[in-house]
Subunit: 343 residues, 2 copies
């Protein structure tokens, strides 16, 4: 029950403090016999190193921060879970930091956070991660960070980054719809501030152009990443001059809203209208019918980001040239919400 210290372990094992320390830190210069003996004692006493003491002594830390300004709770929770999973694997603890990218002194705020909580580094999620001014300023202050962004290629500079190739994935979704014979394909944007929206739109647009399908501005609606936004814009769309035969929502929440709207008009999916989403979130799985979407486990992405951050902070010998960039291409997942276009 009582907390045991390295001192207790050393006393019981009959070795010095330093030897125990060496074993805890996997240093090589310990005789195997000694190591076994000490490990047994550690087990017996249920010893766990004290983080505060470690941090203090080493002036380093086993805590990282997760910075985000995304208003979508589903997104936030998934990112948290992913980073948290990686933290547990690596023995780090996590400090969450919701914030506002618009705030004037956001850079100061984050720098203070890092100092005050002795954070080893930051994982920065979109959309704030896509603000180069903020990211560069933090990097310039010597703060270790990794960012998750939407892009079709790795950004310049040497800031570690996980980039999600939304453009390629949206291209695949659009081609899937085109392959089913659809020509009037509507596109419902998410917030323009999120790069992901623009990237997904680019993928959609490129696919249409490649197949010589005119890009009809009347079928492209700006809006935001929400069920409600998808619902309302779909009603607008369906009352317009050319009804689309397919709707591509910038994410699953939008697509679920579109689905509800289409059903509320007495139409059926996919017989009358095909609907595709993006993200493979619970919305797409629970919808009736389930939505065609693109898999991009945000949790996995977040986990990757955390691993990358740690790799960047402690470059292992021999890993010198390891890429600090990781590309993720979401995969198309076909579900019943999309079907052949009817004449």
């Amino acid at each position: 029950m009582v907390k045991s210290t390295i001192k207790d372990v050393a006393r019981v094992a009959g070795v010095s403090l330093k030897t125990v320390s060496r074993i805890i830190n996997n240093e090589p210069t310990v005789r195997d016999e000694t190591r076994q003996k000490v490990l047994a004692v550690i087990e017996e006493l249920n010893y766990q190193p004290d983080m505060s003491a470690r941090n203090l002594r080493g002036n380093k830390s086993y805590a990282v921060g997760l910075v985000y300004d995304n208003p979508n709770p589903y997104y936030v929770v998934e990112v948290q879970q992913g980073v948290l999973a990686a933290c547990r694997e690596l023995g780090y603890s996590l400090q969450i930091h919701p914030c506002n990218a618009e705030s004037a002194n956001i850079v100061e705020e984050l720098a203070d956070l890092v100092r005050h909580s002795r954070l080893a580094g930051l994982v920065i999620a979109p959309p704030i991660s896509e603000d180069d001014a903020i990211v560069d300023a933090l990097h310039a202050r010597g703060i270790h960070l990794v960012r998750i962004i939407s892009a079709d290629k790795a950004p310049k500079g040497d800031i570690p980054c996980v980039f999600i190739n939304d453009r390629a994935a949206a291209h695949a979704v659009a081609e899937h719809l085109i392959g089913l014979g659809h020509r009037g394909i509507a596109f419902l944007w998410g917030q323009e501030e999120h790069h992901s929206s623009g990237e997904r739109f680019a993928g959609y647009r490129n696919a249409l152009l490649e197949h010589d399908i005119p890009v009809d501005d009347g079928l492209i609606l700006k809006g935001e990443y929400s069920f409600d936004s998808g619902f309302r814009r779909t009603l607008t769309l369906m009352e317009g001059p050319h009804r689309p035969s397919a709707i591509f929502g910038c994410n699953d929440e939008i697509a679920a809203g579109a689905l509800a709207a289409v059903k509320s008009m007495g139409l059926s999916v996919p017989a009358d209208v095909s609907i595709a989403g993006f993200e493979n979130s619970p919305f797409s799985k629970q919808a009736q019918p389930p939505l065609t979407t693109a898999a991009q486990s945000i949790g996995d992405v977040a986990r990757q980001a955390m691993l990358l951050l740690v790799a960047d902070m402690r470059p292992q010998a021999g890993q010198e040239g390891t890429a600090t960039v990781n590309e993720i291409i979401p995969e198309l997942i076909e579900r019943p919400s999309t079907g052949p276009a009817t004449a």
Copy 2:
């Protein structure tokens, strides 16, 4: 830019380490003149005390854990924000810990968390906070904790707690509907495992009984706290033998689903059907029309809980008898989704 320590402050101010320490900790035995001088230096050097050193020296900690197993991301994010706000006020840091109450060794897991991360205490959110076995076991191990639960009176025992009187609030919502002339009032449950569902149902039921309105089992449907569940059950309900004139959703998400379902049938709200929710979440504000609901800012509740936890951990002199229990009664918020019953 460089981190400054208490030593730097002492040197620049021309006082001893201890004096600076006293000032940081608001100890009384410092001359005011000295205090001002040192505070100026602290400001100038942008000094911030090092948590690791503090924790180590005092064998105490300025970190708390937030434990939750609620699957609803909206709920989770709000609770996090509330606790985080209180943490910032009090100078604590927060360690989030999503978990699974069903897990066999959940108590061990939490106890390890507290030891390993040197947590000063835990804030436990529902529904895991409503599991007495878990809470009692943690308390028995001497772990400081506070729990957020749904109840109509304070629970026995001396475990600090914020209890939300959902029963009283649901009673008020039901009376509001009854006052508008409604008699056929449907009730859509959330998960039965959440005490809040049962409490809200009890409030609803009591109100009906007090007004001599028969409780019609055909109008009471079990389900869960989700838009989808509200949507589907409402369709079922409206196809049934006695259509209700009002629907009381166990939370706003359910009510929003009910609203969408009713609208999808071509009916209008509140002319044809009145709809009320619970929680005053974004769902109730963004709905068209906005939903009558009961205000219970989860964020505030969470903040209160954190304050209570800290009060319990450091009993101030004179506060000896301070209640470690806090009742919160959500207030009725009337919005356009409820109107007079039509004959």
